[in-house]
């Protein structure tokens, strides 16, 4: 934890878990889709469903889908903004099983592109993404995160790690989960910096990589000012 995490983040209230955390989960989900969705189905679990309304969770989720960070003063108006932006949304309560009480599943769509993402808000604005489509996941949005769906076969992780190493990208965490042996797998890599565009393009073209997304770090309000 840095000193600026203790006094911070700068955020729109009222709750670091139900508002700031919700916004970050949706922002990460938007990056998983790769663009702004035009349809979103939001399934709220536990405390998100129970006390979400009074905590602005709905607005925060929509704002995140529109690309807002937690300090964006447009968050309270997100319902109207979403409608104006042509984003059709639907909130529902749903028991997502044995997950953290502040959890949401976002089913997003834009034309042919679709993604389903589950994230939990752990408190103090920290989040954990636990599912991407059919795969279990584990990343926090505290780092630049690379998501890669690939064929489950030997050497894939080594190949990706090599490309990142050549670009002098330091890996903070790596998580990998597969559906079944020899099927598809998803790896999430949290890194200290964003890999160069050519490295990402190279990886996109690797034959056994079927899907790739580069997610920004979403924790520090200060850094996105600079982007």
């Amino acid at each position: 934890m840095s000193l600026l995490d203790v006094i911070g983040p700068v955020m729109v209230g009222p709750s670091s878990s139900h508002t700031a955390g919700a916004c970050r989960i949706a922002l990460l989900a938007r990056h998983c889709l790769g663009c702004q969705p035009d349809q979103a189905q939001l399934e709220l679990h536990g405390s998100f469903a129970k006390t979400g309304k009074g905590h602005g969770t709905h607005q925060a989720l929509l704002a995140g889908l529109l690309g807002c960070y937690p300090d964006d003063e447009r968050i309270p108006k997100a319902l109207e903004l979403a409608k104006a932006a042509g984003l059709e949304f639907d909130f529902m309560e749903k028991d997502l099983g044995d997950v953290h009480p502040n959890t949401v599943r976002l089913n997003l769509q834009k034309a042919e592109a679709k993604v389903s993402v589950v994230g939990s808000s752990l408190g103090a604005g920290l989040v954990k993404m636990i599912r991407i489509n059919q795969f279990e996941a584990n990343f926090s949005g505290s780092y630049h995160t690379l998501l890669i769906e690939h064929d489950d076969k030997p050497g894939v992780i080594a190949r990706v790690a090599r490309v990142l190493a050549d670009d002098e990208v330091n890996i903070a965490t790596i998580h990998s989960a597969r559906q079944k042996r020899g099927g598809k797998a998803l790896m999430s890599i949290e890194m200290d910096k964003r890999p160069a565009q050519y490295a990402l393009e190279y990886l996109t073209n690797v034959s056994y990589i079927s899907w790739l997304r580069m997610l920004p770090e979403v924790m520090s309000g200060d850094k996105h000012d600079a982007e």
Binding site: V6, I7, G8, V10, G13, P14, G52, H58, I75, A124
Partner: protein, 284 residues
Amino acid sequence: MTLNELVDFSGLASEAILKEEFDTEAERDLAAQQMQKRIAEMRSSVERGLTSDKASITGMVGWNAKGLWEADDVLKAPLLKRVQAYAMAVNEENARMGRIVAAPTAGSAGTLPGALLGVADHLELSDEHLLNPMFLAAGIGKIIGQSMFIAGATGGCQAEIGSSAAMAAAAVCELLGGTAHMSVHAATMALMNTIGLVCDPVGGYVEVPCVSRNAFFSVHAVSSAQLALAGLESVIPPDEVVGAMASVGRMLPAELRETGEGGIAATPTGRRIALKMLGENTDM
């Protein structure tokens, strides 16, 4: 670093915190710029909160800060009124989805600006004087956070408001010329007198008792600074007090940790309000 190490530092407490956190001058300058922005954000949230009486999302709060600020100062105690009004201004902004600086959390965001900006404005000190005290406040929060997770849901309100009051007490103490020894003891006394405080927000919303709790504990922080500046100390060493708070936090049953099922939240009126909110929530 521990509080016991900080208490013996010969320079200003903020200096020790800055030395430990930043290796280079450049890093330190960047952080100072960001902290200055935080101070400006805090100021702006105080100003908005003092002039607005717009209801919060649930409608439970929204007019307290303005009401107090505009009321007669019957006690002839302008500092007291200022500190309380600033603290509630920030928390009511939070409750109406305004922009605030979590310090260390959103629910306790009013305590530090209430105490620190309140005292500075009362004494007409400019914002440059606030930078080092703010870093000290952050450093104290960080050290407490190493022993326990700073959130009402894990440690009770003592972890949230208690930590914010400890941070604010140290900051006010240093602002008024306190040594590292005094600032750490100010933080310790603030913490010691919040131990056991439960997290019991009505309906689970950060409004009641949270808004008024920020007002009370920002005054609590200023009192702690006053005692420390007069040379009073905590008999129990700082780190032991943090340890006590952590152990009490673990003993607190779930009902008293942000579930809205104990304390103030579990009063007949608290339950009634919660049910009403829930009713409105189902037809969303």
